[in-house]
């Protein structure tokens, strides 16, 4: 199609053709307006593919090209007949409007602290959006502890954590609807129109009781008027652990297990006889003398994942649409066994479908219908990926082989001959291989969301008055089911050395099956209904006074079908009225006040409603006339500050529905009794699991935020903010209640107080060069500290025991001096009161209070908090002539974590649902531990043992590690094909790119990925290498 303007045909006309592109992402711009500079009667509009064609006089000098959202550009003709035009986005214009609570606001008139990110920055080669948050958004503390598909959500907190209730993470609103972190994780950056983080009181107080931990606001795209525009993205990636756990080899395991038994008890019966050790070393018969590398047996080096995303948008005069679909497939890194006819590697498929339709019912009435479905289908091992990783390092490598091969005696047997051995209790051991291949778990989760919104402009009655109503329902459902057979376990017995054969004994004749059983897991059904009504008013008086106001009423109702108890089964309701008033004078002086008035059913009548006001002031210095001389260099300078109250009713635990009601278990089997000749008369007992308390009420957060924004030369944009938060009324257990009171549950009260403070800042750099090149940089830093100001604790005589003044995630532990040199030294040292008397090679702690005993009174604050206090990121991208390149570093600082000494303790036998596990031996421990031969008092691991040694697993500085790291979080290299090449394929855009995440990490900690913290034995964080293609037509 060609929108040619009708102009008189004149002599010496010439035709100029070309395409209009966006300089940012290379997409074509349909509908761009082109006019001749000399005569604006001569003009053209680019077509759906961005192509234009214009007839101009021969002597024409230049074209003026304009499109909304882009800077108008003057293009000299210079006699050319084919001119491609690249328009630069007008950031001023694009960002003019920002999404705020229940609406939008002009950016220039905002005083509150809102962090906005270009959704394109959230594109990472992962099916989990939350993995992109760390370091990209100032004010967000984020870390990822696991890489398991479906369980790899990042933990994220806005401006740190200032509470210790069950909900510490922000409120997540997608198109105004409260959703979960997993729903956020499934969002596609391609579908996001805006992504903002509300950080201070002014921006969040309208959410009243829900806003104290900050808010994440996301809106999805709507269609624009115009012909259908299709965009497709395909990605295929290879995923592998950033680092694997290094386990000792089977021979070392066996020798050190023997050492562990003997070193604790010289009378001990050795776990492995010498003949077994010798034969295993000699490799006599790998089935009778097994030496299994379970890691290799069960886990692959890498896996491949696929992602596909498409969207179509467009519309006519009456209606506009945006329809998007996504299909992601993530696989785990578990091996699949060909002996089974089912695949039990993790396979998580997620599908999304989104349809946003805007309909103009009348010139002043718009209806919006948003339908969204999100579906996860999962198949994986019965205990999940983390469960499998845990099993690998909880399996004895020398007791039994994974399976026995069939020979002539067993050829007729249909099932796999899994290996196993009997424990001393007559139970079986855990065979991780059998556990993995014996069956699989399926789960499906669905979320359906239907939203109807009506926007009415009442300007015809009162100019500037608008109203909006919104109705939403959300249905969430999910189930899981496992199918599995009970493996047949065999042990090898009576080995014939000369024939090199052995006979097999079936160990679990009674319980093994060749057919599948199944196990129904949880079924969840959840229904949410939501309504919202709002009016707002905007008016500018005398071009100097800008006034706006808004009132919102909302009501949310949540019902859980399988809640588990009467109180939980009752509908959860939340109700509130909120308002906003803003005033701006000549775009220089800005005032904003907000309030939220909320009811929460969790509290007694007298405490039920809370009022949360806030106020903010701003001064745009650069709009003052005295700034005129500076305006060339500092193009924008704004000072702003806000102060206000926000509440939090998500305190205690989620199961504390009604604090003012007692919770009594009228049929407590644990408190029952039995009588009678044959013990036949049983009655269960009665117990109180919560005492009623009328006094319990909100947490209140008093937030102060001071911000400074300035732009340098239109290239650097710098925002720096300082904040403090004072949280009071934190619900805590009364520490002063002795057990002699005989209470069956703790008494709590709103007594705790905490504060946090910190800085978050970001620097953006944008530069476009004339030769189709551009550079962008972005750096940001979040520093958030917290401390208890009032903490319910006993009156300690020792100052260091008090938590007041320390961070909320400050850990307390003993100071480990070194390992004891020998048993003798333990008798001459302060008594260590943890389990058995320590021996040489056990950890020696410092007697801080000098009372001759090591007890809980010697515990001091150790290390940094477990939540990092600093998160930072540095990104750089550049493009030239179709090539683009970006990299992003992310780091984390000031955090500590602890190697879990119980989880990593070697040789420990534990009962599990599928047999006794026996802990593996980390290579690092095998290499460095105290032994009678090598009495290294600074070894990594203390004296070995076959049981948990209570003394050594106390929280102490011994196992404390520095959690800080810097990593190359992502790297991307792309190329957009020249138009001339793709035009034939009717494409207007084609880009291929290669990207990677977690490519390398710098950290002092070497045993596993430092970001996993103490969770290192789980499913590792993944490194991903990705190849993608984007097409538009």
């Amino acid at each position: 199609m060609l929108f040619g303007a009708s102009i008189p045909i004149m002599a010496q006309q010439r035709l100029i053709t070309g395409t209009v592109y966006s300089q940012d992402d290379g997409t074509t711009i349909p509908g761009a307006n082109l006019v001749l500079k000399e005569n604006n009667n001569i003009g053209a509009v680019s077509d759906i593919d961005g192509n234009y064609s214009i007839s101009v006089p021969n002597d024409a000098g230049a074209l003026v090209v304009s499109f909304i959202g882009y800077k108008t550009k003057v293009v000299p003709i210079n006699g050319q007949s084919n001119i491609d035009i690249r328009l630069e986005a007008d950031l001023q214009q694009l960002e003019e409007v920002e999404v705020v609570a229940f609406g939008t606001q002009k950016k220039s008139s905002m005083v509150s602290s809102i962090e906005t990110i270009n959704p394109a920055e959230l594109k990472v080669p992962s099916s989990n959006l939350t993995t992109a948050l760390a370091g990209r958004l100032s004010g967000v503390i984020a870390y990822q502890r696991s890489g398991e598909p479906g369980a790899d959500n990042t933990n994220f907190f806005i401006r740190g954590v200032t509470t210790f209730g069950y909900k510490k993470d922000p409120l997540i609103l997608i198109d105004g609807i409260e959703l979960t972190a997993t729903d956020l994780a499934r969002l596609q950056p391609d579908d996001i129109a805006s992504f903002s983080i509300l950080k201070d009181a002014t921006s969040t107080s309208m959410y009243g009781a829900r806003g104290a931990n900050g808010v994440i606001l996301v809106t999805t795209k709507s269609g624009n008027e115009g012909p259908a525009k299709v965009s497709i993205r395909l990605e295929s990636s290879t995923s592998m652990p950033t680092q694997n756990i290094d386990l000792a080899d089977p021979i070392t395991y066996m020798l050190q297990h023997n050492e562990a038994a003997l070193t604790r008890n010289p009378l001990a019966i050795l776990p492995y006889a010498q003949s077994k050790v010798d034969n295993t070393i000699a490799g006599t018969n790998p089935y009778f003398y097994p030496a299994v590398d379970w890691q290799k047996m069960l886990i692959k080096d890498h896996t491949t994942n696929r992602r596909m995303n498409f969207n179509v948008s467009g519309g006519g005069k009456v209606a506009r649409y945006y329809v998007a679909g996504t299909y992601n497939q993530d696989n785990g890194i578990l091996k699949v066994d060909r002996r089974n006819n089912f695949n039990n590697n993790i396979n998580l498929k997620s599908y999304l479908l989104r349809s946003n339709v805007n309909i103009d019912l009348s010139p002043s009435t718009e209806a919006v219908v948003r339908l969204h479905g999100s579906f996860d289908d999962y198949i994986g091992p019965i205990d999940g990926g983390t469960g499998m990783f845990n099993k690998v390092i909880r399996a004895n490598p020398v007791l039994f082989p994974a399976y026995f091969p069939t020979n002539e005696n067993t050829a007729a047997i249909q099932h796999i001959l899994f290996g196993n051995a009997q424990t001393n209790d007559g139970n079986l051991f855990l065979n991780p291989y059998a556990d993995m291949v014996k069956g699989y778990k399926e789960y499906s989760n669905s979320l359906m969301l239907a939203q109807f919104e009506l926007n009415q402009d009442f300007s015809f009655l009162v100019p500037g008055l608008k109203a909006r109503g919104k109705l939403m329902t959300q249905r969430r459902s999910g189930y899981d089911v496992s199918r599995f057979y009970n493996p047949h376990f065999y042990a090898a017995s009576t080995y014939d050395k000369f024939e090199d054969n052995y006979s097999l004994v079936l160990l679990n004749e009674g319980s093994a099956t060749e057919y599948l059983n199944y196990n129904e897991g949880e079924t969840d059904v959840e229904i949410v209904t939501y309504m919202e009504a709002a009016v707002n008013y905007n008016k500018t008086i005398d071009e100097a006074h800008e006034i706006s106001g808004m009132l919102v009423y909302l009501r949310r109702n949540l019902l859980e079908a399988n809640a588990g108890s009467l109180q939980q089964s009752l509908p959860f309701r939340n109700e509130g009225l909120s308002g906003r008033f803003t005033y701006g004078y000549k775009q220089k002086y800005l005032l904003e006040t907000n309030f939220g008035y909320n009811g929460s059913e969790r509290f007694h009548k007298s405490q039920r409603f809370g009022f949360f006001p806030s106020v903010g002031l701003g001064w745009v210095v650069s709009n003052e006339s005295f700034w005129e001389p500076m305006r060339r260099s500092i193009t924008n300078l704004k000072l702003r500050g806000t102060y206000g109250l926000v509440g939090n009713d998500a305190i205690g635990s989620a199961s504390d529905r009604f604090f003012y009601l007692s919770e009594v278990n009228m049929n407590d089997g644990g408190r029952g009794a039995t009588f009678g000749q044959d013990f036949g008369y049983n009655r269960s007992g009665i117990s109180v699991s919560r005492y009623d308390n009328d006094e319990i009420t909100w947490e209140i957060d008093k937030q102060l935020s001071l911000g400074l924004e300035f732009d340098l030369f239109d290239e650097f944009q710098i925002i720096a903010e300082y904040f403090t938060r004072n949280r009071s009324n934190i619900l805590m257990s009364r520490a002063s209640i002795p057990t002699t009171m005989g209470l069956s549950s703790t008494i709590r009260a709103n007594v705790g107080e905490a504060k946090s403070s910190g800085v978050d800042m970001s620097v953006d750099y944008n530069k476009y060069f004339n030769n189709n090149s551009w550079v962008q940089g972005r750096a940001n830093l979040t520093y958030a500290t917290s401390q208890f100001t009032v903490y319910e604790e006993p009156e300690y005589d020792l100052w260091y025991l008090s938590r007041v003044g320390n961070s909320l995630s400050q850990q307390y532990g003993l100071i480990a001096e070194r390992l004891f040199v020998d048993d003798e030294e333990t008798y001459n040292s302060p008594t260590q009161n943890f389990g058995e008397r320590p021996r040489g090679g056990d950890i020696k702690y410092r007697d801080v209070n000098g009372d001759g005993q090591i007890t809980n009174l010697d515990v001091v604050p150790v290390g940094h908090p477990t939540d990092p206090e600093i998160i930072y990121g540095l990104g750089l991208s550049a493009g030239h002539n179709g090539f683009d390149f970006s990299l992003f570093f992310q780091g984390s600082g000031r955090s500590s974590f602890w190697i879990d000494p119980e989880a990593t303790a070697p040789f420990i036998q534990r009962e599990t649902s599928t047999g006794n596990s026996q802990a593996g031996l980390l290579q690092a421990y095998a290499d460095s531990h105290w032994s009678e031969e090598n009495q290294d008092v600074y070894a990594l691991w203390p004296r070995l043992g076959t049981e948990i040694v209570e003394n050594n697993v106390q929280r102490s500085t011994w196992f404390m590690r520095d959690g800080s790291f810097v990593r190359l979080k992502s790297l991307e290299f792309g190329y957009s094909f020249k138009d001339s090449l793709i035009k034939k394929a009717h494409l207007n855009r084609a880009r291929i790119y290669f990207s990677g995440t977690n490519l390398f990490t710098l950290s002092k900690f070497k045993l596993w990925d430092p970001e996993m913290g103490s969770n290192g034995l789980g499913y590792p964080v993944q490194r991903v290498l990705n190849l993608g293609i984007q097409l538009g037509f």
């Binding site: 408190r671 009794a673 269960s684």
Partner: protein, 607 residues
């Protein structure tokens, strides 16, 4: 959503059926006395020893025996309810809630209400007694403090032990009249409290109060309240023994009135030797369900698991059955505690081969109901009283039961390394070479595979023989030797297949006048208790109240060398452990945290 009709504690006291649940709740806190994991008397004293680390169970109390008790998280913590202990202060609060509210129940007949109240009052007394026996002075929980009490109000103080005893007696005295003499509805109520149970326990508590640990204990002179009053009255008070004697006698009278009597085995289907029948009399006085001797049996703590820890693999064809663990291994001290066949201590019997006791002898015809004929075993196992053979098993001893009902053809134990009853892997064995036969009901069957059948019995918290011996002890402390004491002692000895006290000592003893002096008879009664009540969780507390724990718990724990395959090697006494016991070990430490929370609590001496 703001709900109505949500259950509150008031719902527990509107109707009888709900209130009964609350009554049962009060019972539910009774310490699990038959549970190796919960009763320190099994694991923290010198009756049993265990290999370590134990598999399958982890009795916290064994750490106490091995000197690992601590203040950070004390083992068997019945104060806070952790590490194997029941939360007894919660129990007291629930008892008080019951007593405060039971009048509100509209459909509860007054006579039944009175009985329930009496039961709960007794339980309240018993819980106080448990705490007292473990911790010494304790806070008395007469009434509940409201949940809204101030920080200062909740800081209760420990009361001197005499006050606690007094309060316990007050409660029991209030309770006894409204308790039934005996249970009428046996099908539904066996195990509920009766007058004989309450009075017999009162006797035990009174004897405890009169015993040296609590009566005139000089060692705790400096252990005082904040006001300087000693928690333990350092002056000996003879009146406590007088009162204990009267209380015990009363308890005997009421028990006999209710039909309780010493147990004698009878089964007309079996044709058994007298030796076997005597052994059955002894074994089943404990291990037969609700036998006439049981004054208070705990139907809430039964022996099923305990029997598995006592029983051993005895059938050579069923050695893979790991349901039986043989964990409860009596120490050699216990083997030497039992009398000779003449009813005398090993060291007192001039006819017994004391000097040769570690020789190896071969089983003969005379011992054929006790040990395998022709099987070599220690001379220590010859010419002993029937209670020795009935209570303990050893390499070569006969184990009647496990499906073999003819006592001419029975199982016997073979426990040397590699034999049927030896180790299974690295566990499931007796670390001393002795086995606890008394606690295993003779109808036990180890089946093929992992199946086993066991006849469950309620744990006898109190039985008549115990009461007789309590009376004898108290009477001796009051008056010295008397015919009445001999009478009750002889009732017990007669059932054990022994001659009378007088006959035994007159005819066979080295010091034949010992039983005629108060001090001598005291020792004899102490040993008689140790033997008669062996393995029943009594010795642990007896040694403490007699203040003898500091002697016996500082002596070496021994057993046979069970990892030997040959007889000669096996029968060498082997030291298993050298325990230490000091003054502080008589009582449990209060956890450090409890002291921090309530500064008014004073820690026990030495902790």
């Amino acid at each position: 959503m703001v709900p109505d009709n949500v259950a509150t504690i008031d719902n527990a006291f509107t109707l009888r059926a709900q209130a009964e649940k609350f009554l049962f709740t009060c019972y539910s806190y009774l310490p699990r006395e038959a549970d190796v994991n919960a009763n320190p008397a099994f694991t923290s004293g010198d009756e049993f020893w265990f290999y370590y680390p134990l598999e399958y169970i982890n009795p916290r109390g064994f750490n106490i025996a091995r000197g690992n008790q601590n203040i950070v998280s004390p083992y068997m913590n019945y104060w806070d309810g952790s590490e194997g202990g029941q939360p007894l202060f919660r129990a007291l609060r629930d008892c008080n809630i019951f007593l405060e509210n039971v009048d509100k129940v509209i459909d509860l007949e007054p006579f039944m209400r009175d009985r329930w109240v009496a039961e709960v009052k007794f339980l309240k007394a018993y819980y106080h007694f448990w705490l007292l026996r473990m911790y010494g002075p304790i806070p008395i929980i007469k009434e509940n403090l409201p949940v809204s009490s101030s920080v200062d109000e909740v800081k209760v103080e420990r009361a001197p032990v005499d006050e606690v005893f007094e309060y316990i007696f007050t409660l029991i005295n209030e309770a006894v009249p409204d308790l039934p003499l005996k249970i009428q509805d046996r099908a539904a109520e066996m195990g509920r409290l009766t007058q004989p149970a309450a009075l017999a326990m009162k006797a035990k508590i009174a004897v405890t109060a009169a015993s040296p640990l609590f009566n005139g204990n000089e060692a705790y002179r400096n252990f005082t309240t904040a006001d300087g009053d000693p928690f333990f009255n350092p002056a000996f008070d003879q009146a406590k023994w007088d009162s204990a004697m009267v209380i015990s006698k009363k308890a005997i009278e009421v028990s006999e009135e209710a039909g309780h009597q010493l147990f004698y085995f009878s089964n007309f289907l079996l044709d058994l030797s007298d030796s076997t029948i005597t052994k059955m009399n002894i074994r089943n006085s404990v291990a037969e369900r609700w036998n006439a001797e049981t004054l208070w049996g705990s139907s809430n703590s039964r022996s099923r698991e305990l029997q598995r820890h006592a029983m051993l693999r005895i059938d050579p064809l069923r050695t893979v059955n790991q349901q039986v663990r043989a964990h409860l291994a009596p120490t050699m001290r216990m083997a030497e505690l039992f009398y000779t066949e003449n009813g005398l201590p090993l060291t007192e019997d001039k006819n017994w081969h004391y000097a040769d006791r570690y020789e190896i002898w071969e089983g003969d015809e005379a011992h054929k109901y006790y040990l395998k004929e022709g099987y070599s075993t220690s001379a220590l196992h010859f010419n002993r009283e029937p209670r020795f053979y009935a209570s303990m098993g050893f390499d070569g001893s006969i184990w009647y039961g496990q499906g073999k009902t003819d006592d001419e053809d029975t199982w016997h134990i073979e426990a040397k390394l590699g034999q049927t009853s030896s180790t299974y892997g690295t566990s499931g064995y007796s670390v001393t070479g002795y086995f606890t036969k008394k606690l295993v009901n003779w109808n036990f069957v180890i089946q093929d595979g992992q199946n086993y059948v066991v006849e469950d019995y309620p744990w006898p918290i109190m039985r008549l023989a115990d009461l007789y011996l309590l009376y004898a002890e108290a009477k001796n402390e009051v008056e010295g030797p008397s015919a009445e004491i001999y009478h009750y002692m002889n009732l017990v000895r007669e059932r054990a297949g022994l001659k009378t006290l007088e006959e035994s000592w007159d005819n066979h003893a080295i010091n034949s006048n010992k039983y005629k002096t108060k001090e001598g008879l005291r020792e004899i009664i102490h040993q008689e208790r140790g033997i008669e009540l062996a393995f029943e969780g009594q010795r642990f507390w007896d040694m403490r109240r007699w203040k003898k724990a500091e002697i016996v718990m500082n002596q070496t724990i021994k057993g046979w060398d069970v990892f030997q395959e040959e007889t000669v090697g096996y029968y060498r006494p082997k030291t298993l452990y050298n325990p230490t016991f000091s003054l502080r070990d008589y009582f449990w430490p209060i956890s450090e945290n409890s002291i921090i929370v309530n500064r008014k609590l004073i820690q026990n001496p030495g902790w």
